[in-house]
């Protein structure tokens, strides 16, 4: 019990303040508020972006992270798209195929 009590006190001390989380959450939600885009529209944007990327590289669409980010009343579309492999080989072989 003493240990629990101690660790609770220490744990509290070591835990980062809740304000960083507040700021991070606010920034994300405000970016979304400011673009004023519907969830359906956003999903389409995400899908189109994945399709576009997939034309050139092999991506992990399930794990891509697309969001709006804001600062100083400006907006940015930020996408992190995991690349599994390049398509150089298949691209080159297709080209060869066309020429042949």
């Amino acid at each position: 019990m003493v240990f629990e009590f101690m660790s609770r006190i220490l744990g509290r001390k070591n835990r980062p303040g809740s304000k960083d989380l507040a700021k991070e959450r606010l920034k994300l939600v405000l970016a979304q508020d400011r673009v004023d885009i519907s969830p359906q529209m956003f999903e389409r944007l995400r899908r189109d972006l994945a399709t576009a990327c997939a034309k050139y590289v092999e991506i992990d669409a399930a794990n891509m992270d697309v969001r709006f980010d804001s600062g100083d009343r400006t907006l940015a579309l930020v996408a992190s798209v995991p690349v599994i492999g390049t398509k150089r080989d298949s691209y080159n072989s297709r080209r060869r195929g066309n020429m042949g």
Partner: protein, 265 residues
């Protein structure tokens, strides 16, 4: 006279709009300015009781607008500060009783007589908000360091921009220095960083705001109130003075004792 018409707004309710209007208006009047405070929250009249003028209302804003009395008759002079006046909201009507066009006329008529016309905007972004901002040339946005209030303030900035009210100024209300120090409350810089508008003042969370409101006396009239001092500085900045921001250090042991003695008066 060609006075400034300023709206005090927040989006979210309960962040201290009415208190801010009463205190900033009172502080400006103490500085010798002629100030008219307009309660634009039709149906939820509050500014009168915060100012301690609730027993002196005969006519209200709707009476004046409908021509049932002259505007001058509806204005209540403050009992302590001779240059402070209140135009009370109607309690029996609702927000649809006014059109933005009428509000524009009324505020411009007041601006002929007063240095400052300060509008207490209702919470929300509907009709009452649109009425309150209709005649305003500038805006003060009140927020508290909480995610919900800051989010709503951001929405208000956008809506004001769309209405052509540029460069609203920010007041951060009810800041708790002890919580900021622990990293458990959004700091002044965090809020400015997020909203990206100019800061005009920071008001610490202060019990004297509640006790002074209980008495119907704005905290700016209380010499020891920290919040009162913060509001006086906001008034000075509105007047174009360059005054330093109130220190937001967590109160020391002695500071607490001093405050205890001050509050006990």
């Amino acid at each position: 006279m060609n006075g400034k018409v300023m709206v005090v707004t927040s989006g979210k309710g309960g962040v201290g709009k009415t208190t801010a209007v009463a205190n900033i208006g009172c502080a400006l009047a103490v500085r010798g300015k002629k100030v008219a405070l307009v309660d634009a929250d039709i149906g939820l009249r509050n500014l009168d009781i915060v100012l301690g003028l609730e027993n002196r209302i005969v006519f209200d804003i709707i009476h004046a607008m409908e021509g049932r009395c002259r505007l001058r008759q509806a204005l209540i002079r403050d009992k302590r500060v001779q240059t402070l006046f209140l135009l009370p909201a109607a309690q029996s009507k609702d927000k649809d009783a006014i059109m933005p066009e009428q509000m524009k006329e009324l505020t411009s008529e007041l601006a002929d007589e007063f240095d400052y016309v300060i509008l207490d905007c209702p919470a929300g972004i509907e009709r009452g908000f649109k009425n309150a901002i209709a005649g305003a040339g500038s805006a003060l946005i009140i927020t508290t360091p909480e995610v919900s209030a800051v989010r709503d303030a951001d929405r208000i900035v956008g809506l004001l921009e769309a209405e052509g009210i540029e460069e609203p100024k920010l007041v951060i209300n009810r800041l708790r220095p002890d919580m900021v120090k622990r990293g458990d409350m959004l700091d002044i810089e965090d809020v400015i960083d997020i909203l990206a508008i100019d800061l005009v003042g920071v008001v610490p969370d202060d019990e004297t705001v509640i006790t002074s409101t209980n008495r119907g006396e704005p905290a700016v009239l209380d010499g020891v109130s920290r919040a009162g001092e913060a509001f006086r500085r906001i008034a000075a900045r509105i007047e174009g003075e360059d005054v330093p921001f109130l220190s937001m250090e967590a109160p020391s042991f002695w500071g607490k004792i001093k405050r205890f003695l001050g509050a006990g008066r």
